[in-house]
Amino acid sequence: MKGQSWLSRRSAELRSWLRAITQRRRVEREMAAELEFHLEAVTADLIHAGKSPEEAARQARIALGTAMTHKEGMRASMGLRWVDEARADLRYAARMLRKSPGFTAIAAVSLALAIGANTAIFSLAKVLLYDRLQIPRADELKLLRWTGDDKVVAHSMWGDFDNSPGGGQTSSVFPFPVYREMSLHPSGMRSLAGFKEDGMNATVRGTARRVAVAEVTGNYYETLEVRPQIGRAIQPSDDVVSGSGNVVVISDALWSREFGRSPDAIGQTITLNQAKLTIVGVNPPRFTGAKNVLQSPDMFVPISLEPLLSLHRDKGSDLANADFWWVNIVGRVKPGVEESKAQQGLRVQLEAAVRSLCTVKDGDTIPVLQLVEGSRGLRWADRLFRKPLYVLLAMTGLVLLLACANIANLLLARGAQRQREMSVRMALGAGRARVARQLLTESLLLAVLGGCGGLLLGYLCRNALPGLLTNPWENFSIQVSFDWSVFACTTAIILSTGVLFGLAPAWFAAKTEVSSSLKESAQTTTRRRRGASGKALVGLQVALSTLLVVGAGLFIRTLTALSSQDVGFNTDHLVLFDVNPPDARYPAGKDVALHEELEKRMAALPGVQYATLSGTAYIADSMSNSDFLPEGEKFDKSKRTAEDFNVVGNNFFSTLQIRIIGGRGFTSQDTATSPKVAVINEALAKKRFPGVNPIGKMFRADRDKNDLIRIVGICADTYYYTLREGPPAQFFLPYVQQKEVHGMTYQLRTSLSTAALAPMLRNTVQGIDRDLPVTDLRTQREQINASLQIERALAALTSGFGVLALALACVGIYGIMAYSVAQRMNEIGIRLALGAQPAQVRRMVLRESTWLTLAGIAVGVGGALACTRLVRSMLYGVGPNDPVTIMAGMAVLVAVALLATWIPARRAAAVQPMQALRHE
């Protein structure tokens, strides 16, 4: 190799540079010492040659030249020059920003708000919509789904279910025997793992609680390629025959909550739905199971335990039932096999398995299997949050744009003010690049200030945002980790705006002739140009604000319309909680007896006026339905005969204060042995018994049974599962007349708070069964609020953005008008001197800003009309072009504009003609 290699030279330069930076004082000292030595040596030589000491010293200094210049050259040699310049720029920039604290504060705060809001919303969206399961090579994981027409063989299902776009239905649950058959030799797949997540009652270290449990097949951990952090995973040997492995793997969260991360947890016993299980392992921290990416079930158990955990005595185990579709299946495609090939093979296998195992009646069709992306689980969060998040993302995007416009406007205004300064600098010989670099430093410093604020805000919002989307009593939390890539991205956008508009003045300065802009008269040309672009920016701000304010208005009106809805029963002082007796301990009949006992004890509690219970809670996004066949009506497959219903306690109507319109409600005379009775609501009476008095009529609630139920009363309509759909037709059956009811929701009419009730309720329930937890304690109001969570979050966030937008627009309008007034000082002085009244001047200024605002509003309303249509499905009780909202939005903006212009207008009106004429 010839010469000094490039690499060795660069690395030497880097070392030398770092040394010079870090030991700057020493380097400077050595430089001085070296030149000093040089002078002394030259002087000594000259004295030696016969010169007098003074003369020698003089000549030596002349020969060397100015030490300052040499030192500058030496510093440049070491790459220190630009560092020094940058430092000087920074010092100057800091001084400039300190000198105008108003400008600095407004710019930095608006940047911080925009960066913070964007970081928070994008981080949330990333977690909710894009994050993958925390398993090795998550992108390879496939989920099995099926689609079928409306006559598909799956009649009895437990799991996700959707109407597919082309008619028919789609779902991702399968009967367990079908899964077992397919998993023996899955076509094109390495393995197929089955799982189901469910809520169960667990007693861990003596406390009974509700936990989320994943029942998984023996090859689940193998398929996901996940290894527990301590202990072992669930193995195929745990899953050989029903109930073979009484083992459980617990989540990292449960491990820290209950066992303080102690390794002693392994080997301990917990009770799950009355079954005793041994803890054998703890999952890794970020593993959430295959169902979702947000939160892990607390426990993972072999699916073979299913009969032990939930025994339906009359039906037999779900593991053996080929007509009950409930298991989710995931798998990985074999390497080298095309996904379409694997899907084709599995399709054939599914069809064969369904034909051989399930009861396929005449007219039933076989579902068609599909392999879909499984890296985000069943994606329920996508469905729930996609639209609201898109709205929020769009809105934060607008806020970002607004903040950029704001910063651009502020920087342009400042640049125009400093035109003279730039010209002076250039006239004194500063290079164009040098001036540009200095402006750049100022913009960057500003952006860094805003960035730090944004970082702080984004970090705080990260914890606040998920709180808006979850409710307090379910311990479900969305973990949003602070996302650096999102923050970096937002900051980069803001930075480039800052750089772009920070440099624009330098560009203009460079284009103007130095001499011409130093002359007073020439300034107006550049000002007019800057005035136009500034006004356009402010117009844009007003337009964006209009859009945001109208959007926020629509969501606020939706929320008020929904929450002021009269649901048909009295929601005040109504406390709800759930009791879910496990099937294994409370088989059919025993559960009814338990609830009867509990109902009695609840009603006897001090402070409780009424107590009742129902199979389904109201306004909780869940509902039950059942056949409703009036006597004489034949079951017809082509007609929908199912109606919404609920099983309720005998004093349900009096507790909830639902009016009985005709006949009677339930009484204590309605018992398990008395004739079967029902109450229907007005809507059902109108729908199924038009023009007939339904009281006394008989009906069947099960197409396969002949038990007739007599309608004894009609009650007023109530909302049922959601506030978004009006009261549906419903009928009510007394729970005491049911064979089995499983878990029920209790409703207590009481003036006590949930906090005061909690210990009483727990004692009452555990006085009967130590292992039975009281779960989901909340008031009916909280329940309704929870069902409006997304609407509330949207309304809160969008109005936050709306206020932010208004503030930014206000700043923008104020800035441009203050500037315009300052610029027209001369003209205003002349007007006043010629006899104009101060009020006229004030009106003139106000008129200017009003025109600007109106133009912005017109554009904004046009945009709003185009955009709000996209959110039509998210609105309630208000149209996308709601004139009230739009008018209100416009009025708010006009008011804000007038407010922002008031100070400059007053200043203009207060101008003293003489002073103004002397100005400049």
Partner: protein, 118 residues
């Protein structure tokens, strides 16, 4: 002894100062003033280095790793900064010397050309 530039002395060709410093230092460690003296000495007082351009050049070469410095005692017991050639500097000196000689040969050949030799 410091010589003043006058017409008799040759001007330094652009870019040759680095090469001369490397050569001077290759003969043994020198302080800055020593480099100046040695170049004048070995050029037979024909070449004069601008004292102002010497130190930036020394710093540049040290920055690039071609020479290294160390503080030591001078002949009259003053602290002085001594420069010596590094391995990288030696390689660079060899390469530049070869390049210089080749260039000089080519130029000399061109200048020797007479109408007859074409």
């Amino acid at each position: 002894m410091v010589a003043k530039p006058d017409d008799k002395q040759a001007d330094l060709l652009q870019g040759t100062l680095d090469l001369l410093i490397l050569k001077a230092v290759s003969l043994g460690p020198l302080h800055g003033y020593g480099v100046l003296l040695r170049i004048q000495q070995i050029s037979g007082e024909e070449l004069v280095i601008q004292q102002g351009s010497l130190y930036p050049a020394l710093y540049r070469l040290e920055h690039q790793g071609a020479i290294a410095s160390e503080w030591g005692d001078s002949e009259n017991n003053r602290r002085a900064k001594y420069y010596r050639l590094t391995t990288a500097g030696r390689k660079r000196l060899e390469a530049e010397t070869e390049k210089w000689n080749r260039m000089a040969g080519i130029i000399a050949g061109i200048l020797r050309t007479t109408p007859e030799s074409l």
